[in-house]
Amino acid sequence: MALGVGCAAPPGKARDNKTGSWRVFRPVFDPETCNRCGMCALVCPEGCVHENEEGMFEPDLDYCKGCGLCEEVCPKKSIRMEKEEK
């Protein structure tokens, strides 16, 4: 059968939905002032803030909706929201 029997599906397909296109403001992270506390990654409702190889945090802009929660919780004010250029 072509469809998942009983409207069931395995994981994975949600990532096809690139919610980054919803964004009006984008978070810009400043690695100079970041203290690597990870609060930005912890509170992101998309789970799209990740630690990179250098141990710094960065958002996955494919999915970031630009809500600004990371900016609000950042204790070092290392994140600022900038209007997206269309």
Partner: protein
């Protein structure tokens, strides 16, 4: 081995031999003897199942749904108001393609409140996606449970089933029943192999919602499975006959129909009375026969057309009423026979436990022969 036993007990005994792993049910007359027996079997270590004593029928079927999704063979039983309380779960379980088997001790629906038999409860859920099998006697109700599990769990089907027998008339009646042994049931019914299940080793989201891009296709798939269930039932019924000597390969079953002018159509225990009435009418020279419907869903339209070739008049006995449009079986028989030229008359009969006697059947045949039908039969005269 043939034993005299109550219908409910026969059901409990055969369900035990079908080895459900989770049983969940809520007490309601006239279903109670079945679930009491099963609870005792679990308490006595005769049945290795989890028995969940829920706080409502709604939770009973919801628990069965969860257990089925987790990979267990499950069982429940209910009737009437309990089934209607389950209605939302019924549609859901069919849509989720979970092969739940549930016994229905058919009973009328309130108001007025009535604990007595008709078939309104299951008929009201005819569009829910559950297979519906109706038994004529206690042997048939026992046998149909084995067939039901086999058909429902077939990976080409994956639908739930109501296995129906008439409340009190069969549930509380003692009849001789030949119950197969555990080994015989095991030989007929393999262990449950879920099509898929909730499993941390293989994550799956079950019961997602469908947008307009997909919804129709899912409903189409259920409908196709319902049609495939016709052949699956015939196959399972034939296999049953080969193993146990009682053949259930027919979605319908004719009785003295061969040269009949008038055919009665009925479902459930009333067929026994009808057969006796047919015999008497035959003795009196009337060419009358019976067509018993065993599977109301899937509806045996083509089988009905085939069985009634040569018949001029049909009288459908409906133990239900689609208020404002006559009986449900009659309506569907008329639809199946459309264009054949056969006259079909529908009789609403035996609602809420009203007794039906052989002379009532004869009276219905007389009415049909006179072309009088599509009516309630046997009403108290003060309402007329």
């Amino acid at each position: 081995m043939m034993e005299i036993m109550e219908g409910s007990h026969a059901v409990a005994e055969i369900v035990k031999r079908c080895r459900p792993q989770v049983v969940s049910a809520y007490p309601i007359t006239p279903q109670t003897h079945i679930v009491e027996d099963l609870a005792q079997m679990v308490a006595s270590c005769e049945l290795d199942a989890e028995y969940i004593t829920v706080e409502s029928e709604f939770s009973a079927l919801s628990a069965c749904l969860g257990a089925s999704a987790a990979g267990s063979r499950v069982y429940s039983a209910t009737t009437s108001q309990g089934l209607i309380l389950m209605a939302e779960v019924c549609f859901n379980a069919a849509g989720m393609r979970l092969p739940i088997v549930m016994t229905i001790a058919n009973r009328s629906l309130g108001a007025p409140l009535s604990i007595w038999n008709d078939q309104q409860d299951t008929i009201a859920l005819r569009d829910s996606g559950w297979l519906q099998f109706y038994a004529e006697d206690n042997q048939e109700i026992a046998d149909l449970h084995m067939i039901a599990y086999k058909v429902c769990e077939d990976h080409d089907i994956l639908l739930p089933a109501f296995v129906c027998f008439d409340g009190f008339i069969l549930t509380h009646t003692y009849e001789p029943v030949d119950l197969p042994s555990q080994e015989e049931v095991d030989a007929y019914l393999p262990a449950f192999t879920p099509y898929h299940r909730l499993d941390a080793a293989k994550p799956l989201s079950m019961g997602m919602y469908a947008t307009p891009d997909y919804y129709m296709e899912f409903r189409y798939e259920i409908d196709r499975a319902m049609y495939r269930a016709r052949d699956a039932f015939i196959k399972a019924g034939r296999e049953f006959g080969e193993q146990f000597g009682r053949d259930y390969s027919g979605l319908v079953e004719g009785y003295r129909l061969d040269d009949a002018d008038v055919a009665l159509i009925a479902m459930g225990s009333i067929c026994g009375t009808v057969k006796d009435a047919v015999d008497e009418m035959r003795d009196a020279g009337k060419k009358v026969g019976l067509l018993k419907i065993r599977t109301y869903r899937p509806f045996p339209g083509p089988e009905i057309v085939e069985a009634l070739k040569g018949v001029s008049t049909v009288a459908v006995l409906d133990k239900n009423i689609s208020l404002g449009n006559g009986g449900a079986v009659g309506t569907e028989v008329k639809s199946a026979l459309y264009g054949t030229g056969i006259s079909v008359y529908d009789y609403i009969i035996a609602l809420g436990g009203r007794d039906v006697r052989k002379r009532d059947i004869a009276a219905v045949v007389d009415l049909a022969e006179k072309g009088e039908g599509d009516m309630f039969y046997g009403l108290r005269t003060e309402v007329l």
